[in-house]
Every structure is written in C-alpha cells, then in structure tokens.
Point group: C2
Amino acid sequence: MSKVLNFNAGPAALPRSVLEQAQAELVDFNGTGMSVMELSHRSGAYDEVHVQAKEQLKSIMNIPDTHDVLFLQGGASHQFAMLPMNFLHSNKVGYYVLSGSWSEKALSEAEKIGDTKVVASSKEDTYSHIPKELALDSLPNAAYLHLTSNNTIFGTQWGNFPDVNVPLVADMSSDILSKEIDVSKFDCIYAGAQKNLGPSGVTVVIIRKDWIKEANKAIPKILQYETHAKANSLYNTPPTFSIYILSLVLNWVEAQGGIGAVQRMNEQKANLLYDCIDSSEGFYKGHASKESRSNMNVTFTLPNKELTEKFLKEAKELGMSGLNGHRSVGGCRASIYNAVPLEACEQLVEFMKIFKGKN
Amino acid sequence: MSKVLNFNAGPAALPRSVLEQAQAELVDFNGTGMSVMELSHRSGAYDEVHVQAKEQLKSIMNIPDTHDVLFLQGGASHQFAMLPMNFLHSNKVGYYVLSGSWSEKALSEAEKIGDTKVVASSKEDTYSHIPKELALDSLPNAAYLHLTSNNTIFGTQWGNFPDVNVPLVADMSSDILSKEIDVSKFDCIYAGAQKNLGPSGVTVVIIRKDWIKEANKAIPKILQYETHAKANSLYNTPPTFSIYILSLVLNWVEAQGGIGAVQRMNEQKANLLYDCIDSSEGFYKGHASKESRSNMNVTFTLPNKELTEKFLKEAKELGMSGLNGHRSVGGCRASIYNAVPLEACEQLVEFMKIFKGKN
C-alpha cells in the first residue's frame, strides 16, 4: 500500500483528477496568463467559472427554477446563525429535529435569535439513530423545520425526508451530492463544501426564491440571503478559488455518470464496510442503528480502548488517514465521501479482517 | 511584452514564486500524500500551516502580545456587520470617518445595529482626499472610531493615523502589509486577504485581547470575536487553502527583506506612476489630491471618454489587465499591490508616455 488513503471527515479527499487539473493550470488559468486566484471576480474569465458552477450544480442536483443557488462563506456554522436571523422573526417558532452535535449547535444559535422548539431528539440514545417519533402534524406558527441530513460524528443519515406543510430546511453539509434527493421538498438546503463539494471556504445555499422575500430586512445587508441572491453571489468578493475547485468537482461528478452513478458507488462502498462490521461476530460494533446508518460516515468501535488505539496506529502505518472518531465520541470512523475510491474501502476492509484475525 | 501585467484591484496579483510553490505541492503537500485542501483542519500537518501563518504575521507586522490574530471568512464586508454587532451595544455610539464607498458601506451596516455618527467626510469633494478636519477631541459615549486606511476606488490613503482616546478600528483591506504601521494604536484592524495577503476567502482580524471581553455576548456564537479567539480560529473549519497561500505570501514578504523593504518598493512604484501623471502637462489627471495619494491604487483620468477607452483597449492588447476604474467612477486605475513588480509599473509608464505622444 503506497498511496495515502484519505478517510478524513472534512476537509476530505478530493478527486485526484480535480487536483491534477488544478495543479496544471494553477499558474496560468485558461490562457489568461494568471492564476484563478489572481482573476478579478468581475472579469469575464472568472464569471465563466462562477456561472458554470452554479448552472452545473442546478443540473446535477435537478434544482428547480423555483430555487436559487448561492455561494457564501462561513460554512454550515455560519448558516446556523444566518438562517434564524433571516427567518426567525415576527414571533415565529423555529422547530428543530436533534440528531447529533451539529443539530444541537444549529439550535443553540437559533435560541439566541428567537423562539425555538425541539420536535424530536435521539440524544437519549446517544444519537445512534435518526429520531423515529416525529410529531410534525402540527407545528404552530412555524418559521421553519430544521434537520441535519447526515450526522458525521455519529454516523447516521436520514432515509426519507418528512412531508411537512411548513418551510423545510436541511443542513446537508456531509451528504449533499452523494445521492439523489428531491430538492423541491426543501425551502433551504445548505452545505459547507469540504466534504463532497470541494475545499473548505465556500458554502452552498439552495433556497426557494419566494421564501427569500419573507426574510427579515432589518438585519445587516451582508447577512441577508436577498443581498446575495440579487447579486448572483457577487455582492462582495466570493471565495473564487474554492468555487473554481467546486466547478472541477462538478465536472468530475458528471464524468462519473451523474449523481445516480455516484449514489450507487457510495452504496457499494458503505455496504462493503457494514458487511465487514456485521460479519465480525461482534469484534467491530457499529454505533448507528442499522436503519439509520450513514453511507458517508461509518462509525464503529472495537472491544476495548487498547485495541482501538492499536487499530488506529496500524491503520496509520498502512497509510490510512483520518480513521479516528470525532474527539467528542472516540472510537473509529471511516468517512467515505464521493471522492474516496472503492479501492480505499476494499483495502480498509481487508485490513479490518486481518486485524480481527490477529487480535 | 509577452507576460500579462496584473493591475487588478482585487483579487489581485500574487507573487510568482508563491504560485509556483503552491503548484509544485498541490497534489502532495509536505510529503503527506495529500493536497493541503484534503488535510483535516485538526491534523498536525495543517496545524503547522495555521500556526506559522499567525506567528509570521505577528512577527512581520510587529503585532504586540496585547493583540490576537484571527483568520475569519466573509471579507471586509462581513466585518462591516460583525464589528458593530460585537461592540455597538449598551447605547454606545459608533463614530465613522467617511473617505470612500467602503467607509459608507461600513457605516450603513452599523446603522442597522446601533447609534452611529459621521465625524468627518470628504464626500463633497468626491472623496478626492482623506478628510482634513477631524473633530476627534470629544467622541462621547464612543464604542469606537472607524476609518478606512486606503480607498481602492478613489485612490486615497491615510498618512498618519489620528491619536484618539477611544477604540480605534481600521479597515486595512487594501493596504495591510504594504507599509510599516504601529499596530498598538489600533484596537482592531481587519482586512480581506485578496489584495496584499493572499487569495479571497480569508479575512485577517487583528484585535486587542482586552477589547474582545467588552463585546456583546447575546449575539450568535459564530459572530463573536471571542469564539474565534478562544479557539485559535479553529472553532469551525477555516478556509485552509487560503490560509496556506497566505503563509506562502508571508514567506515571500520575509524574503523581500520584510515590510520595510516592501514599503520602499511600493513607494518607488507609486512615485514612478505619479511622476508620469504629474509631468504629462495635464494629459493624465490624478483623481486624488497629492497629499492623500495612495501607494496602492493610482487613479487617473484622460482628457475625454474616447481617449480613456482607447487607452484601456491598447493597454489590454499589450497584456495590461485591470486598468479600468471601478464601475462606480470610471476612468483608469492601476492597482500596484505588493506583488506587482516594479517592471510592471515601468512598462505601464512607458506605455503612458507613448500613448500621450500619439494622442
């Protein structure tokens, strides 16, 4: 095993071909004689990148014309605040489903802004599953219902999204672009780029145009979705290089055969790992309940702490990077986002089997 | 003239050696087998970049230990809102000096948050100079005094900063790192990176530690300076690649001989251009009053619109990029940030002389 296998939870692996293209044209982009980083964000050469990234994302994710695509900064953590600042006004209530640490953080920011209510939580089960009992029939005076589609730390993922008659918002930072979803069900989807979309530094927001109009106009202009929608995400200087890499990643997704093909590959990768865990006679234990398992982050534990440390150490020596669980929960975690190749999962499974045999 | 000469106002030219190093290690950074973009922001390999960038900036700018350095996102436009959200509370007043469009935007965001007052403005003189009459003896109940150290659009720059006994804040986006300044005079300096520091996507905030404690704790956590100071700018995923490029740019500044050497070079470059303007017998007219001239953005006009267009067209054909004035004011502007070489200014001057001779 000579190559490094990147199982980082984010920032995470990028497709090799994307990096190679970025490298080839880093000093001279598209015959401009300049790096993408040196282009004015008002130039034709950059505008092409910007517009293409937006249009390509719309095409790949089948985003309807009712929705706009924004390229912002600050990651999901910034959206935790920006969303309620825009929509949690006029005494409305922000409803939150808690399925992990990131949901909690999103709620915590909203609490500083307006009225909130937790409609469901799996915290008592250490977030080992997506909450089952969703009391979503009556959400009085709702600003929105917020959920986290994939929980990186606990390794759980929503299967079917709920049908509700209030604005539905999802933090999809860690599974956007990993499977087909019906964007029209959502009023807002946001995602930090550093898992499936590109490098850190750009945040994608997909938001229903009509909903933007209902936002609070009393907040600073830079924090209003409307500002960025009206300016096609060029109100202020965007993170141009990150958007450029995003555009290359989108090219790569298309070259894989689109999102359906990527989804099938992701399922195959995850199944490999879960099968290994399930057939290990209890040596490896998955943290997530089977029905809530994530195809992006496979979380598991070993019989004891010593074995866990030994496992992580040997894996690292074999070039497998990022397999430690999040510092808040420990254990192991293999993050297998879009750009992690099947072979990396195969090699991890092979190692897991050998390690079990020896220990 | 075979090479492109980049006079962009921002994003702007980066040192060639920086781009070449970034290119060389784009796919495999420092023997990690991964791109910088693929490194976890919690990894040792990235941490080294992060810490080095911070320490190096402190060393180069001679930032005292009383101040912290933060790497944030959102550009200066985000700071326009974040600053008053943190400090414009308890019925205090934010005092603003207006020296151009960016000052106006900063003020406009603050007006949404609390009480503000304009202490001086040169708007009536189309911002052709830094305001002269500063009534700064009495600034009752001040949260802070805010100024913009360099005005990209109008081509003016502060010489000496005022002595005040209230917190002094400067937006230094377009001249940070271009000359020696006494950081201890300021309670907060902020700057989008895309002129002298690196690519767009990272914002540097230099802020007095004691002042952070006085900030409003009722605002969302992600918008509090304290959050980022406590977490060494790793509260959420930082724009890792932009910070990496910043660290390379800081290496480059040191290799030039430090900020003093860079300052002398900038003065030489600017003098070349202003001398050309001043000796053109009125053919080229500088927009800025002589005492307020910027060493970063040289703004000038030609006798009429036709000649301006002809000038810009011929310059472009010669590979000179970004010489058009800001879309809000027209005319011409040469942005000559740190990474624009002396030779580029010499070639521009040569062209200006030839163009004048022919027209």
